[in-house]
C-alpha cells in the first residue's frame, strides 16, 4: 500500500475542507448556538428572575400572617389593613411583583388569587402553592388534633435502586431517567455524524466524477488508495470538528458558568430538569435544595460518561469508515444525486427500521431484537449507543465491535472493487447486475 500517496490525498481532503468558510462558520457557530440554547433560559432565570420579588399578601382568613416561607428572591409583605382591591391599586406605586389574596374559606376551598401586572413565573407560583399547601395541611392536622410533626415523621419516600447483576456476579446500579436522555442524545448524534461525514465522502467522489478529475487522479494513484485517502481525510475533518465543538462548548460553558453564580446555576439547571427528578421528591411539601442537588449529583455520577464517550468514538470511527466506503462506491457509480437513491435506500433501510424500533429498544435494551441490532454492523453504531448507557455485557460489546470492524474491512474491499471499475463509466446507468459482475471479477 502506498502510504505516502494516501497521505497526500488525505492532506488535500483535510486542508481543503478545513479551509472552507462553511466549515469554519459551522465549527464556531454550532457550539455557540448549542450553548445559547442551554444557557439563555438559565441566564434568564438566574439574572432576570433572581431579582427580588415582593408579593403583597391580603389574608382574609388571617391564618397565614408571617407564616409563608421566604426565599432569596421571593419576599412577602402582609397588608393587614388593606383590601384586595386596595392592594391591587397600590401595586405599581409600591412596586409589588404580585398581590396574593387568601380568602376566608381557604381551608374548605383551597383556592387563592394571585394578581400581577405580568404573568407570574412558574417558580413564584410553585413556591406559593407549596408554602400554602404545607400550611393548610398543618392547620387541618391541628384542627383534627393530630400533631403535624408525627405526620412528617412517618412520611416516607420510596426509592427503587435498580441493580443489574452480570454473569460474574458484578453489581451495577441503574438510574434510568438521565440515562434515557443521554443514550438517545448520543444515538442521535452518532447517526447525524456518520451520515453527515459519509455524505461528504459521497459528495466528494461525485464531484470528482462529474468534474472529470477522476481520470487524472486514477493515473497517479490506485483508486483504492485514493478512496482510503479521501475517507481518512474527511474522517479527520470530522474528528477535528467534533473536538473543536467539545472544546468550544466547554470554553463557552466555563465562561458563562464563571459569570453566573454557581449555586444559582445549579439551582436553575435542576429547575430546568425537574422532569428528571422523581415525582416523590417533587411531592415533598418542602423542596429541599441540598437534597435535590445531592440527588442530581448522584444520578450524574452513576452514568459512566467515559464509557459512553469511548463507545461513541469507536462506533463513530468504524461506522463512519464502513458507511463512507459504501457511499464512496455509490458516488463512483452515479452522476447525479438522484441516481444515487436506488443504491442508498437498501443501505439506509436497516437504520430506518431501527429508528422505528427505537421505543422498543429503549424500553427493553436487553431484548433479543436490541441485542441483534446492536451487533448487526449496519445498525450497531446507533443501537449500541442506546444500549451502552444501560450497561452492556463486555462480550456483546466486543462481538459488536469485531463485527463492525469486519464489516468495515469487507465493505471497503468490495467498495474498492466497485469504485475502481465504475469510476470511469460515464453516461451509463449502472444496475445491480453490473455490480454483481464487478464483485465477482
Amino acid at each position: 500500500m502506498n502510504v505516502k500517496k494516501i497521505f497526500i490525498v488525505l492532506k488535500r481532503e483535510y486542508i481543503e475542507r478545513v479551509k472552507k468558510k462553511s466549515f469554519i462558520i459551522l465549527t464556531l457557530l454550532s457550539p455557540i448556538l448549542f450553548s445559547l440554547i442551554i444557557f439563555v433560559p438559565v441566564y434568564i432565570k438566574v439574572v432576570i428572575e433572581s431579582e427580588e420579588k415582593v408579593i403583597a399578601v391580603v389574608d382574609s382568613s388571617k391564618l397565614f400572617y408571617d407564616l409563608l416561607p421566604e426565599t432569596k428572591d421571593i419576599k412577602f409583605k402582609y397588608l393587614r389593613d388593606k383590601t384586595f382591591f386596595e392592594a391591587e391599586q397600590e401595586m405599581v406605586k409600591e412596586g409589588y411583583y404580585a398581590v396574593l389574596f387568601i380568602p376566608n374559606n381557604v381551608l374548605s376551598i383551597p383556592t387563592v388569587t394571585l394578581s400581577s401586572l405580568k404573568s407570574p413565573s412558574i417558580n413564584v407560583k410553585l413556591h406559593i402553592i407549596n408554602s400554602l399547601k404545607t400550611q393548610i395541611e398543618a392547620l387541618k392536622l391541628i384542627k383534627n388534633n393530630v400533631d403535624p410533626s408525627i405526620i412528617y415523621a412517618v412520611k416516607t419516600n420510596v426509592n427503587v435502586n435498580v441493580v443489574k447483576i452480570n454473569e460474574r456476579g458484578e453489581r451495577k446500579t441503574i438510574s434510568s431517567d438521565l440515562r434515557l436522555v443521554v443514550s438517545v442524545i448520543s444515538a442521535i448524534l452518532i447517526y447525524i455524524f456518520i451520515f453527515m461525514y459519509a455524505g461528504m465522502v459521497f459528495k466528494g467522489v461525485l464531484e470528482e466524477k462529474t468534474n472529470r478529475i477522476v481520470e487524472i487522479i486514477a493515473s497517479c494513484i490506485k483508486p483504492f488508495h485514493w478512496m482510503m485517502g479521501k475517507i481518512l481525510g474527511i474522517g479527520l475533518v470530522a474528528i477535528t470538528q467534533f473536538f473543536a465543538w467539545i472544546i468550544i462548548t466547554l470554553l463557552i460553558s466555563f465562561i458563562i458558568g464563571m459569570s453566573l453564580s454557581k449555586t444559582y446555576l445549579m439551582e436553575s439547571l435542576i429547575q430546568n430538569n425537574q422532569q428528571l427528578i422523581p415525582f416523590n421528591i417533587l411531592q415533598q411539601s418542602q423542596l429541599n435544595f441540598s437534597e435535590i442537588l445531592k440527588y442530581f449529583n448522584k444520578i450524574v455520577s452513576l452514568i459512566n460518561f467515559k464509557v459512553i464517550f469511548f463507545t461513541f468514538i469507536i462506533f463513530f470511527v468504524f461506522g463512519y469508515f464502513m458507511y463512507s466506503a459504501i457511499f464512496a462506491a455509490i458516488g463512483s457509480m452515479v452522476e447525479t444525486d438522484s441516481d444515487a437513491q436506488q443504491f442508498t435506500l437498501p443501505i439506509t433501510l436497516p437504520l430506518l427500521v431501527t429508528i422505528l424500533l427505537l421505543s422498543t429498544i429503549i424500553s427493553n435494551p436487553d431484548s433479543p431484537i436490541s441485542v441483534f441490532l446492536s451487533i448487526l454492523p449496519l445498525t450497531s453504531p446507533v443501537v449500541m449507543l442506546i444500549r451502552i448507557a444501560y450497561g452492556v455485557p463486555i462480550i456483546e460489546f466486543i462481538i459488536s465491535v469485531l463485527f463492525l470492524i469486519a464489516a468495515f474491512i469487507l465493505f471497503t474491499y468490495f467498495s474498492g472493487k466497485v469504485f475502481r471499475t465504475s469510476l470511469l463509466i460515464f453516461g451509463k446507468k449502472i444496475t445491480y447486475k453490473d455490480i454483481l459482475i464487478w464483485l465477482k471479477s
Partner: protein, 307 residues
C-alpha cells in the same frame, strides 16, 4: 532507436464489447507517436491500460525491457481526454498536489511549477482559483500538470480539443520542445494535419485491432497514387503533353497570372519520376514540379473505408 514502450498482445473486453484484440506495437524512444482511429476503436482503452488505470485481460506492456509496473507511473505524464480540475482549489495548490502524487517533493513541485508558469506566461494565474479561469486556461494548467514530473513518456489524449489556434500552436511548440529534450510522446488525436506536422510514427486502430502501422513518411509513400502537379510558363506544347501513354492528364487549368497547371496520373509502374520530368521538359518551361502525396486524413479514411 531504442524501444521505450512495448505493447505486446494486449486484449481487453467489457461486458458487451471487445475493446482491444491482440494489439502489438513498439514505441521508439524520443519519437512523437500518433495513436489514431475512429471513435470507439479502442484508443482510450489502450491509453488507460498503459497508464495502468485499466488491467488488460491478456498481454503485457514493457517499459524499456522491464514489465511496466505501478512504480513506473512517476515517469509518465498524462493529459486525459476527459479532463477536469478541482474548481474551488487554487491553481498552485492543485499543480503541487498532482506533482506530489507523481512523486515530487513539495519543494521540487513548487520550483518546477513556477518555472513552467513563467515559461508559459501564466504566473498571474498562480493564486487564482480554477473556477475563475477560462476553459483554455484550465487546459493549459492540465498540460502543465501532465509535464511537471519531466516525464519520459507523455501521453496526450486529444490534446488540441477545445483550444484556439494560438493555444494549439503553443501546445505544438511545447510538444516539439519536449521531444527535443528526450521525452517520448504518444498522441491520440483526430486532427490529422497535426499528426502530419508532429508525428514520426503512427498506429491506426479500427474495431479494436491495428489496421495500419508505420512511419508517417513511408506510409504516405506507400499510399501515394502516382499523382503529379506541374506548373508551366506559357507557351506549352499541348499536343506533346497529351500524347504520352505513360500517364493521363487528370486536370488542366490556367492560373490568374497566366501560368498553366497540369495534374497527371502515371499509369506505368516502370515510368519513373525522372522519366516524367525528362518528357515534360521538352513540352515547355516548368516552374513547379510536385509529386502529390496523400494526406494522413486521406490515408485514414481510405484504410477505414476498406476495412
Amino acid at each position: 532507436m531504442k524501444t521505450i514502450l512495448s505493447i505486446k498482445n494486449i486484449s481487453k473486453s467489457y461486458i458487451n464489447k471487445i475493446a482491444l484484440q491482440d494489439v502489438t506495437f513498439d514505441i521508439p524512444e524520443g519519437c512523437i507517436f500518433g495513436l489514431l482511429g475512429p471513435n470507439g476503436a479502442g484508443k482510450t482503452t489502450l491509453i488507460r491500460i498503459i497508464n495502468q488505470i485499466l488491467i488488460p485481460d491478456k498481454g503485457e506492456i514493457f517499459f524499456y525491457d522491464k514489465k511496466l509496473s505501478l512504480n513506473d507511473l512517476i515517469y509518465f505524464g498524462y493529459l486525459p481526454e476527459e479532463r477536469g480540475l478541482y474548481k474551488k482549489m487554487k491553481v498552485c495548490d492543485q499543480v503541487i498536489f498532482f506533482a506530489q502524487l507523481k512523486g515530487l517533493s513539495k519543494n521540487e513541485a513548487t520550483e518546477k511549477a513556477l518555472l513552467l508558469f513563467e515559461r508559459l506566461n501564466m504566473k498571474q494565474l498562480w493564486n487564482k482559483k480554477i473556477e475563475e479561469l477560462s476553459k483554455g486556461m484550465q487546459q493549459k494548467i492540465q498540460f502543465i500538470i501532465s509535464i511537471i514530473n519531466n516525464p519520459k513518456v507523455l501521453i496526450l489524449d486529444e490534446p488540441f480539443t477545445g483550444l484556439d489556434p494560438i493555444n494549439i500552436m503553443l501546445f505544438k511548440n511545447e510538444i516539439k520542445e519536449l521531444q527535443k529534450n528526450g521525452t517520448t510522446i504518444l498522441i491520440s488525436t483526430h486532427i490529422m494535419p497535426s499528426v502530419e506536422e508532429l508525428c514520426d510514427r503512427i498506429v491506426l486502430l479500427n474495431n479494436s485491432r491495428i489496421v495500419l502501422e508505420g512511419e508517417v513518411y513511408y506510409l504516405k509513400k506507400k499510399f501515394k497514387k502516382n499523382l503529379y502537379e506541374i506548373e508551366f510558363e506559357p507557351p506549352v506544347n499541348n499536343i506533346l503533353i497529351a500524347h504520352n501513354i505513360n500517364y493521363q492528364i487528370i486536370e488542366t487549368f490556367v492560373t490568374s497570372y497566366g501560368t498553366i497547371i497540369y495534374k497527371l496520373k502515371v499509369n506505368n509502374e516502370n515510368y519513373s519520376t525522372k522519366d516524367l520530368l525528362q518528357d515534360l521538359i521538352k513540352t515547355g518551361k516548368i516552374i513547379k514540379f510536385n509529386e502529390i502525396l496523400p494526406t494522413m486524413e486521406e490515408i485514414f479514411v481510405n484504410v477505414i473505408k476498406n476495412q
